[in-house]
Symmetry: C2
Subunit: 204 residues, 2 copies
């Protein structure tokens, strides 16, 4: 699911085509960035971890920052696409909240390194690109916002301040720090538990 937006050929968007080598580089880089931060990882290190020399590395990428940008946009786009799909297919506010919650938690759990980078390394991007990624974050928040508004219109939910929505999403986003995908509780269970928190917060 995540590789979808990385592997599909993209005529219109800024995504460049992705060779298997490039995909490998993106995955390795995500792991390194998650472990030591964008500026804490050198291109030498990325080369060593992928088994590529510097020249070979720069044949597949155009810059180190591109790596970070491509990782964040790809996975945020996946998140948005999945959220949009749930928003359109499930009309019951409560069930929709549960589905959104599970999907988000499972995405974070399955691609922990990439999501860590998405949520934590935003500051390493230059202005324009940072704004672009922040815009994707807003797009994702807008999906939840629309979902809650719809629940409000149906009388199931009560109105909440936007800061509370930001907080509730932070509950998920911050989980990259403590989440253990191999832990006793799987992502779906945590997603369900978080959905319960959200529902208690917004229920009329």
């Amino acid at each position: 699911m995540t590789t979808e937006s990385l592997t599909q050929s993209q005529p219109a968007t800024s995504h460049r085509q992705v060779s298997p080598t490039r995909l490998k580089i993106l995955q390795v880089a995500a792991g390194l960035f998650a472990a030591r931060g964008f500026s804490g990882v050198g291109v030498n290190e990325i080369g060593e971890a992928t088994g590529l020399g510097r020249g070979a590395l720069y044949y597949h990428i155009s810059s180190k920052e591109d790596l970070l940008y491509d990782i964040t946009t790809a996975y945020m786009s996946d998140l948005i696409a999945e959220g949009q799909s749930i928003l359109e297919s499930e009309s019951d506010p409560t069930l929709r909240t549960q589905k959104l919650s599970r999907a988000l938690m499972m995405a974070i759990s399955e691609h922990l390194s990439e999501m860590t980078v998405c949520f934590r390394e935003l500051h390493a991007l230059t202005d324009e690109r940072r704004r672009a990624v922040m815009s994707l974050h807003s797009d994702y928040q807008a999906i939840w916002s629309r979902s809650l508004s719809d629940g409000m219109a149906k009388g199931t939910f009560r109105p909440i301040p936007s800061t509370v929505l930001k907080g509730l999403l932070g509950m998920y986003f911050y989980s990259f720090l403590w989440l253990d995908p191999r832990g006793p509780q799987n992502a779906a269970d945590i997603g369900d538990a978080f959905a319960e928190v959200v529902l208690r917060a917004v229920r009329a």
Copy 2:
């Protein structure tokens, strides 16, 4: 309040004494680390921002990493001390939750750069120190945990999984990304709104 643990003379702990110059360096470094990440900031830059040359800078600090470590431990210690104080002085579970919530949100808002560093730059510390700071995070979580357990014992609250507590705290910790201390909603209001979310989540 935050400067307390930085300025007080420390006979027993590892905190070294803090001259005004050193305090200034810590504040400036926190701002830079928050803006560009620990590895993204050079010591040259810290020197320029404080108006100090390299020699002068290293007269006051022992290493760049020390700066990060001192910032995180100082502010986490403050958070823990304040939380402990609330835990001991307020026995009503609901009021205590509100006080903990407000105190946390206000601390984050008042020292946004330092808190950002506390929550986001952990990975830049070497193993031993990272563990030490993570232990402080656990200590803080334990305060909330004890508060909720007490509310449970009193029949006010219901039991919740530890992952839910981690999530609820993440709601606060992640706010460094969107919080605007000069924004329309002040930190106390947001703290109250978050307290309401927590109370709805844990109320029996």
